[in-house]
């Protein structure tokens, strides 16, 4: 039986050939090259010169590198932690309160509205907020002035004290819709009788939220947390468009730091080391998350 199935499966390997060749060319070879280059000094022309771990020792002593990782930690809060928690709460409110008392239409319309920022291209998000937060002709400062709160106007993206918080706020705005949609679709799996039973037992909304909602959508919870965290670690576009990592590196993130070294400073070896560290971090985090998720599902 086993022998038979392996022979009948043999003919399928040929279907993998285009995918394997394409992945080799676009993913495996470049990945190996980057890791190799991270052990060299290279300007992008001529041949790389082997320097061993020099780039890495330099990296771990580089204040900018640590700053970029500190910034990314705050962006994980803005892009993963806050949207996941707030999204969980809002999804429950929409599903278990709004839909019940005001009907499906309201819940659906609100959900679509919250999701809207997610469909915009990253660069466009940057332009919209770059304009709203612009110190001279931006909408936010103009609004503050017109309602007599002129004292609140700031150079939101140009002042090192505020730039990172401004970017964080923009990212919360951008991300919030994704967990809401994911969690609401998770909630629709839940048997409504469960809620009815809890209702009859006299459980209040908050109790139902904690005991049923949070418990039932654990799978979605993990998926959302993994994907948003990884998205935060990879963030590039918004930072490029909004602040270019500035002012004075206040919003520098690893991917932008690598980009600068590759294409502005021609320090390809150093840039490769930065991206290699970032990659290792992402892959390790992803596997830790997957393990946790696996364990949570087993214990069910």
């Amino acid at each position: 039986m086993a022998a038979k199935s392996t022979t009948s499966n043999r003919g399928y390997a040929i279907y993998l050939i285009p995918g394997v060749l394409a992945s080799l060319a676009v993913i495996v070879v470049p990945l190996v090259m980057t890791v190799y280059v991270s052990f060299t000094k290279w300007t992008g022309v001529g041949s790389p010169r082997w320097v061993g771990f020099d780039n890495y020792t330099r990296l771990f002593a580089d204040a900018l590198f640590w700053q970029s990782f500190g910034n990314i930690a705050l962006l994980v809060i803005a892009m993963a932690v806050i949207p996941t928690l707030v999204g969980l709460f809002l999804a429950a409110v929409l599903f278990d309160y709004v839909a019940k008392h005001f009907g499906d239409r309201w819940a659906g319309a609100l959900r679509s509205g919250y999701y809207l920022p997610q469909v915009l291209p990253v660069a466009v998000t940057g332009i919209v907020w770059g304009w709203i937060l612009h110190p001279d002709y931006g909408a936010l400062n103009r609004i503050f002035e017109s309602i007599g709160l002129g004292g609140l106007t700031r150079n939101w993206l140009g002042d090192p004290d505020y730039a990172l918080y401004s970017v964080m706020a923009v990212m919360i705005w951008f991300q919030l819709g994704y967990p809401i949609v994911m969690f609401m679709s998770g909630l629709s799996r839940v048997n409504p009788e469960l809620y009815e039973a809890a209702d009859l037992d006299g459980a209040g909304w908050w109790q139902r939220f904690r005991k049923i909602t949070v418990y039932m959508i654990r799978p979605e919870f993990y998926v959302v947390l993994i994907t948003t965290t990884i998205a935060a670690l990879k963030i590039f576009g918004q930072v490029f468009v909004l602040t270019s990592g500035g002012p004075s590196n206040a919003t520098l993130v690893p991917s932008y730091f690598a980009y600068q070294n590759f294409f502005e400073k021609a320090q390809v070896g150093y840039g490769s080391a930065i991206s290699t560290v970032l990659t290792v971090l992402i892959v390790v985090l992803a596997f830790v998350f997957l393990r946790l998720q696996h364990r949570a599902e087993e214990s069910k």
């Binding site: 993998l16 005001f102 809207l116 490029f240 590759f262 892959v283």
Partner: protein, 295 residues
């Protein structure tokens, strides 16, 4: 996919329940009001952009961003459109996204056919590979790709972007589609085999038609993701004629020629195609996100 059906049933049951008609207390409307305020915060920025894209700059200077324009002013949009030759960018984005979506789905089908249905040896390792490929930050691939692209004459060429994104998107597609094909009903394949269909015919006559809904979701994702891509197109497409929409808009930031009207005009014409796709694909999208998307 059955998820939406259950959802509708659950809601229908709810509407009929007596609780829905129970006493209306002010708390209820307080909650709704809070949610509507939040909605305004989410959608408001886009509305402000739309309003100011069609507002005369003089009027903006006088009345600020929140006033309703007294007359529609199209010059901001027209000027910007002509200045960046926006039609060309739209076409570049469209053709790139379309080709990537088609090729990416095809490549995902082939991979998933071998891994999910064929269960070839080492399938777990292939799947781990595609999962990791999916996680990689593009920064770790960009410099070699840029270097190789230059060497083989594909730098500043849409074909390079098409090849790269076909592979990157199909890593996700393979991962998702393999899990779908692992559950593919064996009887259908056996029936095809009895009818004398080889593996190639079985793939196109049985497997692909049956999995069409999933393929539609993948196509939609690939199209929109490719449309929105910024980093690699920014590196690869340097000449004006080759830029995609996000790159053209992104590199204009910080340009001294920009003022409130031009900036919001540029933002608006970046928003509109995205909104169009959102409306066109809304059903597939929400369904697909429900199917457990990884991005």
């Amino acid at each position: 996919m059955t998820v939406t059906a259950t959802l509708a049933e659950a809601r229908a049951a709810d509407d009929k329940s007596p609780r829905a008609a129970k006493h209306r207390d002010p708390v209820r409307f307080g909650v709704l009001a809070a949610l509507v305020v939040l909605l305004l915060l989410m959608v408001g920025p886009l509305l402000v952009v739309a309003v100011n894209a069609v507002k005369n700059p003089a009027e903006y200077a006088a009345d600020g961003p929140l006033s309703i324009p007294t007359s529609l002013y199209w010059d901001g949009i027209v000027d910007f459109w002509n200045r960046v030759n926006f039609g060309q960018k739209l076409w570049n984005s469209f053709i790139t996204s379309l080709v990537v979506a088609v090729l990416g789905v095809l490549l995902s089908i082939l991979n998933a056919y071998a891994l999910g249905i064929g269960r070839v040896k080492g399938r777990v390792w292939f799947l781990v590979f595609f999962l990791v490929a999916n996680l990689l930050p593009q920064e770790v691939l960009v410099y070699p790709l840029y270097y190789i692209g230059k060497e083989i004459g594909l730098y500043d060429n849409l074909i390079a972007i098409i090849i790269i994104f076909t592979v990157i998107q199909s890593a996700f597609g393979t991962y998702l589609l393999t899990s779908v094909y692992t559950e593919f009903p064996k009887e259908l394949l056996e029936a095809a085999a009895i009818d004398g269909a080889g593996k190639w015919r079985a793939l196109w006559r049985v497997v692909v038609p049956v999995s069409r809904p999933t393929l539609a979701v993948l196509f939609t994702f690939f199209f929109i993701w490719t449309w929105n891509e910024f980093f690699l197109p920014l590196i690869f497409l340097i000449s004006n004629d080759n830029q995609t929409v996000p790159v053209a808009l992104g590199v204009l930031q910080g340009d001294r020629m920009m003022d409130a009207t031009t900036t919001s005009a540029s933002a608006l014409i970046g928003i509109l195609p995205a909104m169009l796709f959102f409306l066109l694909f809304q059903r597939t999208l929400t369904r697909g996100i429900a199917a457990g998307a990884i991005k």
